[in-house]
């Protein structure tokens, strides 16, 4: 990228979107070349994928998936804001969904309340599982990256134990499931008939995004969180308690992670089964990176990701390897991340230049040269 382009990009909001857009274009270009090399038509791939959006329930599926990814991305981004790398969203969300399904299936409560209790349980379980990493980090100095990776594996074991038919599971044919949640505990969606049903919790996800934005940008807590992430030393001098922030940030991230599994649990599956989806936590990491931890960026990132996921299914129909979508995802993340870094640097230099231009104090020094 040339300096001229970059400077043109750095002007405020426009730059904030143009840089990642260029990076995505670059990623798409690279994938196009890969397709050409393997003898497939990039144009066919693209038009098939775009065309797929209007097919069947794909549009709704994209929206539903994006909502799930969004919550996961926000959970990761919340930690990232404080330079905490919660790799454990995966384990947190799965354990939370499992326990919430068990509790939800066991309880009989009036509508709304039933749903709220399930949500609360999920939030608490997610926070508690993240809390182990938080405590280890805050009091024992264990890197949260390593501890959450270990906790992910342990969560898998715990879940397997919890849904054994002799604990809380129910055998259903060849599947094991928790006791299904009765309708009173479900979260209704909006049906579009043939085109599918938008999960009710999509709106909760959107609200979460707003809450995230408000929390980080408009509250004292958010400020302290970002300050600790940017400069722990300056934050300490400014009266921010680093240990407390670490604990709270990871707990909040875990609480948010606890919600990741709920849209599908409460709106579609109603029980936690052996087929319960996995991998949303890892996707969340990628999406937080794509969206630069910004609620709007993360939203765009999750939509893009969901589009690539769902629309790629159509590639099978035209004989293009659908793995190209995965490559696209990988390359985008790395290209966007690098683009952000380049823009950040140019931005600072440009600002410095503007500062010097604006300050007459620099003039005598400049004149001396």
């Amino acid at each position: 990228m040339t300096a001229a382009v970059a400077t043109a990009l750095t002007g405020g909001v426009k730059g904030r979107f143009l840089a990642p857009a260029l990076a995505l274009l670059f990623a798409a270009l690279l994938c196009g070349i890969a397709l050409l090399i393997s003898g497939d038509s990039p144009w066919l791939a693209l038009s098939t994928m775009v065309g797929q959006v209007t097919q069947g329930t794909t549009a709704v599926d994209i929206l539903n998936s994006a909502a799930v990814y969004y919550v996961s991305g926000l959970a990761v981004a919340l930690g990232f804001q404080m330079k905490l790398f919660n790799i454990g969203v995966e384990g947190q969300f799965r354990l939370a969904a499992c326990v919430a399904a068990i509790v939800g299936g066991a309880l009989v409560l009036p509508p709304v309340l039933h749903t709220l209790v399930i949500i609360l349980v999920a939030v608490l379980v997610g926070a508690a599982w993240a809390g182990i990493a938080a405590v280890l980090r805050a009091y024992r100095g264990v890197s949260e990256v390593i501890s959450t990776i270990m906790l992910n594996a342990i969560a898998t074991g715990l879940i397997a134990y919890l849904i054994r038919p002799d604990t809380f599971g129910v055998l259903q044919g060849n599947n094991i499931s928790t006791q299904p949640i009765t309708p009173s505990g479900r979260f209704p969606g909006i049906s579009f008939g043939e085109s599918g049903t938008v999960l009710g919790m999509v709106f909760v996800a959107a609200a979460l995004g707003f809450g995230y934005w408000f929390l980080l940008g408009r509250t004292r807590f958010g400020f302290e969180l970002r300050a600790s992430g940017e400069s722990p030393t300056a934050a300490a001098a400014g009266g921010v308690n680093a240990r407390r922030m670490t604990l709270v940030a990871l707990l909040l991230s875990g609480a948010m992670a606890g919600l990741v599994g709920l849209p599908e649990l409460l709106g579609r599956d109603f029980a936690y089964t052996l087929n319960a989806p996995q991998g949303y936590g890892f996707t969340g990491i990628a999406i937080a990176l794509l969206g630069r931890n910004h609620p709007v960026g993360v939203a765009l990132g999750s939509l893009l990701w969901a589009f690539l996921d769902k629309a790629a299914l159509a590639l099978d129909n035209v004989g293009v390897p659908r793995e190209i979508a995965v490559i696209m995802q990988g390359v985008s993340v790395i290209a966007v991340v690098i683009a952000y870094e380049i823009v950040r640097r140019y931005e600072l230099t440009a600002q410095r230049r503007r500062v010097t231009g604006a300050s007459p104090a620099a003039a005598p020094a400049g004149a001396a040269s």
């Binding site: 004292r220 300056a234 300490a236 001098a237 308690n241 600002q351 500062v355 300050s359 001396a368």
Partner: protein, 493 residues
């Protein structure tokens, strides 16, 4: 020779000339930010001059990297130590010079040999982390010697040393000078300079303003050369001191992280409303720790801190700030600012729980912006707006922003650590003026500074700190920088 070095927005060196004779100790004096370190880095090949040339023994050279300078016999001990804590002494010394004596037994023997010259008495296999400041400095010198340098640049080597250590260092330097080594010696401490140097070059605002003979020149004359004639005097004549105690510190004691040493040792002090209490001391004698302990960033083992009637001994940093303490930290980039955040976000730091930037748990961004603009206006922060990142401002303007922020919200007490370090004359005068104004309005100020003129000019009373204790009081009306300097080094018993 005619060295010029420009950084974006600042000319660090402008047409500087410097002649150093073989076998002399050549001192370089100048204010903070005058460009001394930059010049030395150019000589050492770490930075490239924009103009000018360097000659060694009459032939022009051009160092593109430190290794080329090393080859030409030039070595440098940096102002901030360039050592790796987790490596051993031997590894620190060997690094980059492995080709000389390998990295095995032969090298170790050589190091042991040279260690004597520098007065280093530890096993080369010791991990560096276990060494004290003086020994670290010896390791730095050892590094230079090991490379066979004949010209040694010492950038502010004494700033962190206690007087005995300074004496030992000077003995080493003199011994080596006798062996034919040449030294470039940088220091702010003029009496030291006069004690060790054979020639002195003074640098002001990036230019060399002349040389002096240390035997003939007085410290006062040197200081005048350094700051030029437009020397602003930080004088505070009319007394505004009241008898209302604002800050009372009693018996404050702080142990070092390893628990073995007392970094602060029974500190008692009181600052009254309208009073500026200056703390003088050579760096590393506990001033930083004192300030950070009063701010609640370090937990004292014993002692009490009162602000007015409030007992803050166990309060956290934010509580102390809320109680009315403003804090200008000594290192603004590490402790004062969020570099990549806009100015208005920096306005919030430390005030996040108080108006005008916050209402309850919520931030009030419009009010924050307005108030930041007020600071920019009142404190003459040179910036196109409050949206630029703090890192884009020059040091002086960053400092004005920090001082402006800390004086906001009418604090009862301002703790100012080196408030004008590395700041230009104009900004310096402005900061002094603002402190004076606030003091007039009843602010209590605890001032820590290495700039003795600032300390004497601004303070109503001065305490001298040495090895974690307040060892002496001085009256700024009568004390001279020389007397103060003597007390700081413990030489004025």
């Amino acid at each position: 020779m005619g060295i010029t070095k420009r950084f974006p927005g600042v000319v660090a060196n402008s047409d500087i000339n410097l002649d150093v004779a073989t076998g002399e100790v050549h001192a370089l004096c100048g204010e903070n930010g005058a460009g001394k370190s930059t010049l030395m880095k150019i000589l050492y090949g770490m930075q490239q001059p924009d103009e000018g040339r360097i000659e060694v023994n009459g032939s022009p050279v051009r160092f593109r990297s430190p290794s080329e300078a090393i080859r030409a016999g030039i070595g440098m001990v940096h102002q901030h130590f360039m050592l790796a804590d987790n490596l051993t002494v031997a590894e620190n010394v060997l690094l980059g010079a492995e080709s000389l004596h390998g990295i095995g037994a032969r090298a170790r023997k050589k190091i042991a040999e040279l260690a004597g010259t520098t007065g280093l008495r530890v096993d080369p296999e010791t991990e560096l982390a276990q060494l004290g400041v003086a020994d670290r400095q010896r390791v730095e010198i050892l590094k230079v010697l090991y490379r066979g340098a004949r010209v040694v640049i010492l950038d502010e080597p004494t700033a962190v040393l206690v007087p005995q250590e300074v004496d030992e260092l000077f003995a080493t330097v003199r011994g080596m000078r006798a062996d034919g080594y040449t030294f470039l010696f940088i220091s702010h401490k003029l009496d030291e300079v006069r004690a060790i140097a054979d020639t002195i070059t003074v640098i002001r605002r990036g230019r060399s303003v002349g040389t002096a003979d240390p035997k003939a020149v007085t410290s006062r004359r040197l200081a005048e050369m350094m700051v030029g004639s437009e020397l602003p005097t930080p004088e505070t004549r009319e007394a505004t001191v009241t008898d209302r105690a604002v800050l009372r510190v009693e018996g404050l004691t702080l142990l070092a992280a390893d628990g073995a040493r007392r970094v602060l040792d029974g500190i008692d002090l009181t600052v009254h409303a309208g009073e500026v209490l200056g703390i003088a001391g050579v760096e590393g004698n506990g001033q930083t720790e004192l300030v950070e302990t009063i701010m609640g960033m370090r937990g004292a083992q014993t002692g009490r801190v009162h602000l007015g009637e409030q007992d803050l001994s166990t309060a956290g940093t934010l509580a102390r700030r809320e109680a009315g303490i403003g804090y200008v930290p000594e290192d603004r980039t590490r402790h004062g600012l969020l570099p990549s955040q806009p100015l208005w976000a920096n306005r919030i730091l430390g005030h996040q729980s108080r108006p005008p930037v916050a209402r309850g748990a919520l931030l009030d961004l419009p009010a924050t912006r307005t108030d930041t603009e007020r600071i920019v206006r009142d404190f003459d922060v040179r910036t196109p707006g409050v949206e630029v990142a703090a890192a884009a401002l020059s040091g002086g303007n960053q400092q004005k922003l920090v001082v402006g922020r800390e004086l906001s919200g009418s604090p009862l007490l301002l703790i100012a650590s080196h408030p004008t370090r590395g700041v230009d004359v104009g900004a310096q005068a402005l900061i002094w003026e603002e402190i004076r104004k606030a003091r007039h309005d009843g602010l209590a100020v605890l001032l820590v500074s290495a700039d003795l003129d600032e300390l004497i000019g601004l303070s109503d009373s001065i305490k001298v700190m040495l090895r974690g204790r307040l060892v002496a009081d001085a009256d700024p009306a009568t004390v001279t920088p020389e007397q103060l300097g003597a007390a700081m080094t413990g030489a004025a018993a």
